[in-house]
């Protein structure tokens, strides 16, 4: 299926590059469109997204596009986002990603929005790449039925989540006065 000459793959790659900071004007140029045409096209694809099967081939490609945004019509585009390899060079450890996750989640609990770009110097696309990379390793072990590896990974994950969870809870403790703190049994 195509909308104004763009395929779902085009739309997925455009989304991945947009999340990495590429402007709509630049994206429109990649497709040889003027901005109004691209925005109308994009809106139609957003509508189509709700019709796709979760875990189906299109949605899988949508994930892959974030891992490797510089492909298809974006392969030779200057300013297109790098693949996950570059992001992993910057943050190679699982601990790095769990730290970001916990930072984001615990700050959110106290009503603070973390700017990933500002805090860690990576875009939302790069942050998603890390998530998909480590999620993929976990999924691979699960699908392969390697129980020993799964147990090891789970244990490590729990340990890292606790380490960084405690760290950020401590950091935000002054902002986290619960509404039920004064009620006691």
């Amino acid at each position: 299926m195509e909308i104004n000459g763009t395929t779902f793959e085009d739309y997925a790659l455009a989304s991945a590059n947009a999340a990495a900071g590429m402007s709509k004007d630049e994206i429109a140029k990649v497709f040889g469109m003027e901005l109004p045409v691209w925005e109308a096209t994009e809106q139609q694809w957003i509508g189509k997204m709700s019709e796709l099967t979760p875990g189906g081939p299109e949605m899988q490609f949508f994930g892959e596009a974030f891992m490797k945004p510089k492909q298809g019509k974006f392969a030779n585009v200057e300013g297109a986002a790098d693949s996950s390899d570059k992001t992993l060079e910057k943050y190679p450890k699982w601990s790095h990603h769990i730290k970001m996750q916990q930072h984001y989640a615990i700050a959110d609990e106290v009503g603070i929005q973390i700017d990933i770009q500002k805090e860690y110097g990576i875009s939302m696309t790069e942050y998603a790449q890390l998530g998909m990379h480590w999620g993929g390793i976990f999924r691979e072990a699960m699908m392969g039925g390697d129980n020993e590896k799964m147990q090891k990974l789970s244990k490590k994950q729990d340990k890292l989540m606790k380490k960084w969870g405690d760290h950020f809870k401590e950091m935000y403790k002054d902002q986290n006065s619960g509404i039920g703190d004064d009620i006691d049994f």
Binding site: E39, A40, D108, G111, I112, I179, G180, I183, D184
Partner: protein, 283 residues
């Protein structure tokens, strides 16, 4: 000899100290319930105030609500930890572990009620926030826009919140209208306005869903009439909600008018038919 000990322990349920403990637990739960209810109005006020104070930045507004929501949900954790750490161990001095379930359930029922109540409150709150944002952002569309060629006044569409072509009535030049970020964001907030406007239908479909889900599992040969009726009712109410929702949304974004029926069908697939296919109706 075993029965002796149990009997002695069971008798303690009438012990004034145990009864006092149950009353204290009930009072604790009542305080939590009161705190939950009393926190909702200030939460709404805080989130709405934040919208104006934060110059209508929807992301920081959503984060502010997320923080408050998290605190409301933490009341549920508080019930659980209080029971596990304090109430349960004390009660076990008087009753058997299996008798503890009734007391534990009181807390579980209250704790589990918070999430759906917050969900409903959120529809109202986000609807109000969205309406306020809309009223603010739409003013930018009411400004005068002029043709790049002849400077004539352009008639910009009031229900398209993205860049689009606008023809000049005076010199026929095609202009590209590029809205500011606030106008662009209107496209997203209208979803919440529409949902809020469909609250009555949302309540009805939730009631129908719960009623359907409360029917016990059927065994081979059981009469399915009650379940059939419940699913039919749920289907009607679910469809009414999505129809109202998409119709309301299309009043703000006219481009959606032609796809209402299709959009309802797509939503019905995952919100209802998927569940129905897996139900006891087909066992």
């Amino acid at each position: 000899m075993f029965g002796f000990g149990n009997k002695e322990k069971k008798d303690k349920t009438k012990n004034p100290e145990y009864i006092a403990l149950v009353e204290k637990w009930d009072a604790f739960l009542e305080k939590i319930e009161t705190r939950f209810k009393e926190s909702l109005a200030p939460a709404e006020e805080a989130v709405l105030d934040q919208l104006e104070d934060g110059n209508y930045d929807m992301i920081s507004n959503m984060t502010a609500w997320s923080g408050i929501k998290s605190q409301l949900l933490q009341l549920s954790d508080k019930i659980e930890t209080t029971f596990d750490d304090k109430v349960g161990p004390k009660m076990l001095e008087y009753i058997e572990r299996y008798d503890l379930i009734d007391q534990d359930q009181k807390g579980v029922v209250l704790g589990e009620s918070f999430r759906p109540r917050i969900e409903r409150f959120e529809i109202i709150l986000e609807g109000k926030v969205a309406q306020r944002f809309f009223d603010h952002a739409i003013q930018f569309l009411n400004e005068d826009f002029h043709c790049t060629q002849c400077n004539g006044k352009l008639e910009v569409k009031k229900d398209v919140f993205r860049s689009h072509y606008v023809g000049c009535d005076y010199c026929n030049t095609t202009n590209t209208f590029t809205p500011n970020n606030k106008i662009t964001e209107i496209r997203w907030v209208v979803d919440n306005i529409a949902k809020h406007k469909a609250l009555k239908e949302w309540d009805e479909k939730e009631l129908a869903r719960k009623s359907c889900k409360s029917i016990r599992s059927l065994r081979d040969g059981d009469d399915k009439t009650e379940l059939v009726n419940a699913y039919n009712n749920w289907e009607t109410k679910e469809k009414a909600f999505w129809t109202k929702y998409f119709t309301e949304r299309a009043t703000y974004v006219s481009e959606y008018k032609d796809t209402i029926a299709h959009d309802v069908e797509v939503k019905m697939e995952w919100a209802f038919y998927d569940d129905k296919k897996r139900s006891d109706l087909y066992n």
